[in-house]
Symmetry: C2
Subunit: 215 residues, 2 copies
Amino acid sequence: MSKASDHAYAEIRSLILSGNAPPGSSLTEVGLAEICGVSRTPVREALRRLETELYVVRSESQRPFVADWNSDDIGEMFTLRAMLEAHAAARAATRITPETLATLRACNARIAAAVAMADPDVTTFLAENRQFHDIIISAASSPRLASILTALVEQPVVRRTAARYGRTELERSAHEHGELIQACAARDAEWARAVMTGHIRRAYHAFSAATPSLS
Amino acid sequence: MSKASDHAYAEIRSLILSGNAPPGSSLTEVGLAEICGVSRTPVREALRRLETELYVVRSESQRPFVADWNSDDIGEMFTLRAMLEAHAAARAATRITPETLATLRACNARIAAAVAMADPDVTTFLAENRQFHDIIISAASSPRLASILTALVEQPVVRRTAARYGRTELERSAHEHGELIQACAARDAEWARAVMTGHIRRAYHAFSAATPSLS
DNA sequence: CCCCAGATTATTGTATACAAATTATATCGG
DNA sequence: CCGATATAATTTGTATACAATAATCTGGGG
């Protein structure tokens, strides 16, 4: 998308994720336009996009507010993500090319390296982890599934989850990725589905444990 | 949403679905604005919306075109819909209120009546069928799931499917709805999931059979 | 003190004008 | 005749002005 519109999207998104715009707070187009240094037009586009991704909700009278997610919402998000990303893994297993599989292996090697360090490099882990999952989704070659999942995978949630992972859990994550690669190499869709389901659901419980308010 | 924007959305969508704007054809903002009798601004919003719903795709240079769905896309759409709507049914089964359940029963009674006529009333069937599914989705009380599903359920596809249903199949559809109601009344999530999965997948195969190009 | 009506303000929706980028076309050289 | 390049036309992106609508404030009456 275009420059101003993209910039507004990134800016508003980070306002929300950083907590500067707390859940439930109102977002006015002119205010955001001033903050972003653009006019209302690209701000409006950004708000629509954030709305489809459920970062933003609207009142009856179409006034935008920062969405307020409760624990049910987050649990449901993980459930949907597990279901859909497992489906993506199953499709990927029978469609992935040897080249992409090699890319996947390389990616997971970087993850393993980041984890093996004396002081695990969580930043690299997160970046490579995201890429790993993106490769799987792309290998599933379903634009529809991809578009649903991008709106569903909340990087801040992933970050909060990984931040609570110890070395053991990070290693286990890398190992699960490895098993997923095996499943893909074996062209075993159901194996891939099972591994991915477990991978996401384990992340969910790690997240829940790290977030007291979810009890 | 607002009037002009909604109107543009409906108009463009119907252009696409009717075939007046064939798959792959280019959509220019000014052209659509003239057709809809509104300015470019609401047309742009409508196009973004249609883009997230994958009715419209954009070229590298952001020019919009009517999306071209192949049989894989449609099959994948049914698969996702089966998975997600079955999940909605499972959630609904344990959350539905007695009042909503009564509404559901009434809705299916109207479906059964439309089907039982000498000359089955397909229009009523479609309207009530849609409402039936909407009630289930709403009873699942997951705004996220609901928003994904509305973008996924293609009414024209449903229509084409139902148009090929004979009385027996229409009756079977109503019967499956009845079984879904039973599952909800019994608060049996897995039963509800299974019934809904079968319901959608049967529709898929009816659709495939009715659409030679899908082979 | 509360509540309602009207006026005022704030905010979103739409139209239009202009800027930037892309695509098509025409012209020139080989 | 073909190809490259410059130019013109088309199209999207952004800014701004105005219109419509919703929220808020104010004052009076009960």
